[in-house]
Subunit: 193 residues, 2 copies
DNA sequence: ATTTTTGTTGACTGTTGAGTCAATCAAAAG
DNA sequence: CTTTTGATTGACTCAACAGTCAACAAAAAT
């Protein structure tokens, strides 16, 4: 079985397994062995490819952020008006991919990780900046005079809805989440123009 | 030195130490020894009074919720109009006591704990229900036709602002947090009446 | 004065889990 | 056919830590 070129497959299997196990456990309290088992390999191999548990976590976090970023970019491509752009961003947050229970749960754990690891903090900051810049770009075109406050509110709302979803654990209602935030956006823009 | 009646003092010292250490570490990854040391006692004593680490965490969480609940109730007493009531609730969330960096950080960890422990989940659910009921009571008097959605949005906003504060770690700007949420409330109510 | 109760410690135990390492296997290269 | 290289394992080491326990200290009760 040992063929050449296994590395990328193993890496991504381990990353997926990490997200899945973190989601299942609801915390970073998962062992390398659990992750490896879920990925169908030995714990030694996980260390072989990633070096340490921390690196595995970071790789998983990077993966989630990359998937998220790609989805947002894809959705933005099809948006024509500034309002479309806002909707595209919001809807991306709650897409089937990103709003999966394990992923939501993993997000929460990554927020915790970011309090401990500088690398994780850096990753999350980049994500935050990109999200805000995307929001601001659309809001500026809409001539919202308090665009910065609105952007921060949207961002906080997204995080808040996520955290609450992580707790409830019933099947995620993405529709309601999107409508909640969209309603806010509508009200906020009406109130000020 | 061993006088009678030490128990309540030790318990509260340990609870305070737990919050402080969780806040410092940014996660539940603190040892009983660390907590005990911070409280100025031995690890054995912590076990003596609480039985297990889980129980210590739960006691700390209960303490935060009790303090929070008391503050909200106090603020509500002085509110006269429904709008005052909303403001009172929001302002309580960001009071000097509740919005301390360690407490904010501990909150985030408690959300994680609630994904693992049923007891923690129950505690948090009670807090959520009480918060929502307080919000709804005020919103109903304001004749908001979409009161439930507004209540959920406020709650999500509070959580979102908290989580972001936990990350930034710079000195908390409670003023801005309150104004962010108050602005939302104003817009939401104007938009619909 | 002695007994009981309450508070308190720190050493000890058992377990768990991260990371290492030598050895193995099979394909690819020469 | 032999050598190299990448993939892979599982046993092993070592440290950390939760929880236990026997023992001690001082006040309170008798």
């Amino acid at each position: 079985m040992p063929k050449v070129g296994m590395e990328p497959m193993r890496r991504s299997a381990l990353v997926e397994a990490t997200i899945s196990e973190i989601g299942r456990a609801g915390s970073l309290d998962v062992t390398v062995s659990q992750i490896a088992k879920k990925a169908g390999v030995s714990s030694g191999l996980a260390h072989h490819y990633f070096g340490s548990k921390d690196q595995i976590f970071l790789a998983a976090m990077r993966h989630i952020l990359v998937v998220f970023g790609a989805e947002v970019r894809g959705a933005l491509l099809m948006a024509e008006t500034p309002n479309d752009r806002l909707q595209a961003i919001i809807r991306s947050c709650f897409s089937a991919q990103n709003f999966r229970p394990e992923v939501v749960s993993a997000w929460l754990s990554f927020y915790v990780l970011a309090q401990q690891s500088d690398d994780a903090k850096r990753l999350l900051r980049i994500y935050h900046l990109r999200l805000k810049s995307n929001l601001m770009y659309a809001l500026k075109q809409l001539k919202a005079n308090n665009d910065e406050e609105i952007a921060d509110t949207i961002a906080a709302l997204i995080d808040g809805v996520y955290i609450r979803q992580a707790l409830q654990r019933d099947e995620a209602n993405a529709q309601r989440a999107v409508s909640l935030i969209s309603t806010y956006v509508k009200d906020a823009l009406e109130g000020q123009t």
